[in-house]
Symmetry: C2
Subunit: 251 residues, 2 copies
């Protein structure tokens, strides 16, 4: 039983629509189909809802909620987790700017995960029924969406490999590299960043205890692989970290 339950129950306000649109959003090239024409982008823009930024610990949706939308992150970060019968939580993913989450509800119209903001976070809501109508007439949109889902599958399977076979050091190196790579793709610094999640969340996600996570961070620092002060991380030796990780061979 974790002690965070109290905090995460606060309600997320769903309020005013900000005067932004998909054209202005610097993420659109990433979270939306690259191949989409501008006329189509306008149509998509009309269905996407932008909500007020979430505070830390506010939820986007809860496990058990009826599925109606998927969400794209404009800024901030999201943790997805589910809670088992005995109350223990399992973190299933961290999502960074430009990434999409909420697929877990499509299977039977019910969210399996709870999604909570790890810091002040702005998300775009993409109503799924509207999206389905749209994608019938915009074929690239449909395919793009499936690709995003498939990417979720591949990344889940990589995590499975990580949890099944790899040591604590390998798991943490892998997470650091994953975050680094994802930030890099968003034109953010891949070597200096702030981890939005706690050591406990990292441990939970990677199947390790807080203590082990902490020790590995210390060891990485002692080895000169990284420099870190609390959540602030600088990767000093990317190749050493890479050498620790065994990724599934790309073809």
């Amino acid at each position: 039983m974790t002690s965070t339950d109290g905090n995460i129950k606060m309600q997320a306000p769903k309020v005013s629509i900000k005067p932004t649109n998909c054209h202005d959003c610097r993420m659109s090239a990433l979270c939306l189909p690259l191949a989409m024409e501008y006329g189509d982008l306008d149509r998509l823009d009309k269905v996407i809802q932008r909500t007020k930024p979430l505070h830390k610990n506010q939820s986007v949706f809860y496990s058990g909620d009826t599925f109606s939308s998927v969400y794209a992150i404009r800024s901030g970060s999201i943790k997805a987790y589910c809670v088992s019968d005995d109350g223990t939580e399992q973190v299933t993913g961290f999502y960074l700017p430009g990434e999409i989450f909420g697929w877990d509800g499509i299977a039977d119209d019910t969210h399996k995960n709870t999604a909570v903001a790890l810091e002040t976070t702005a998300v775009c809501e993409i109503p799924f029924n509207k999206f389905e109508e749209l994608s019938a007439s915009i074929p690239t949109l449909q395919r793009h969406f499936m690709q995003l889902m498939a990417r979720e599958i591949t990344s889940d399977q990589q995590l499975i490999t990580l949890l099944g076979k790899n040591s604590a050091e390998e798991r943490i190196a892998s997470l650091l590299l994953s975050i680094s790579g994802r930030l890099g793709r968003r034109k953010l610094s891949p070597t200096r960043f702030r981890l939005p999640m706690s050591r406990a969340d990292i441990g939970n996600y990677l199947g390790l205890t807080v203590e082990t996570v902490s020790r590995v961070f210390s060891r990485f620092q002692a080895s000169g692989y990284i420099k870190c002060d609390k959540k602030e991380v600088e990767i000093l030796n990317l190749s050493s970290l890479s050498n620790l990780v065994q990724t599934c061979a790309e073809a």
Copy 2:
């Protein structure tokens, strides 16, 4: 480095079309949209290709192959796995009759996994480009497909929880119950069945060694939870097994 590489390299013959169709297939209600009208089923039937049954250890596709289809199992069983840089393999899933596999290629048109028959197995090939055309005009098909993908995501995430948090006994109980449930849904016996995969495959999948798998099977047998002779398994005490497993709470 595993020693099975030799076997799995044999080529799968892609040969004659059997005179079956989706109407006759007793699986169609499961692998295809329930809501689909018969006219639509005919159209789908025309694109689906049925191949000669695969022998044990023959592959449907290899990691690195260009993605062009997903596959439904009519009979038999499939193991999906990927190989990391150092040659070790990671089993990412087992697929039973009525189930669909091959999503892993949608993300970037390249299969991440290799799919191999665990026994003599018959599969239906569903060419993805044809399917995409179809699903634009059959909305239920599109949604059904996304639901199948989402189910893959949910089941992967359950496995993540299992690997991150659960003991050897819990993992194996969970696998047995999963297989039992999936067979039951297909109107096959949920209490007496033959495990198509080896102990090594089970261990690989669950992040355990063969020895541990073997010991847990012995312990389960000693406790009277199951009776098993090699791959033949009978579940004697379903509730005891269920009690071992902590599933993510359904809403």
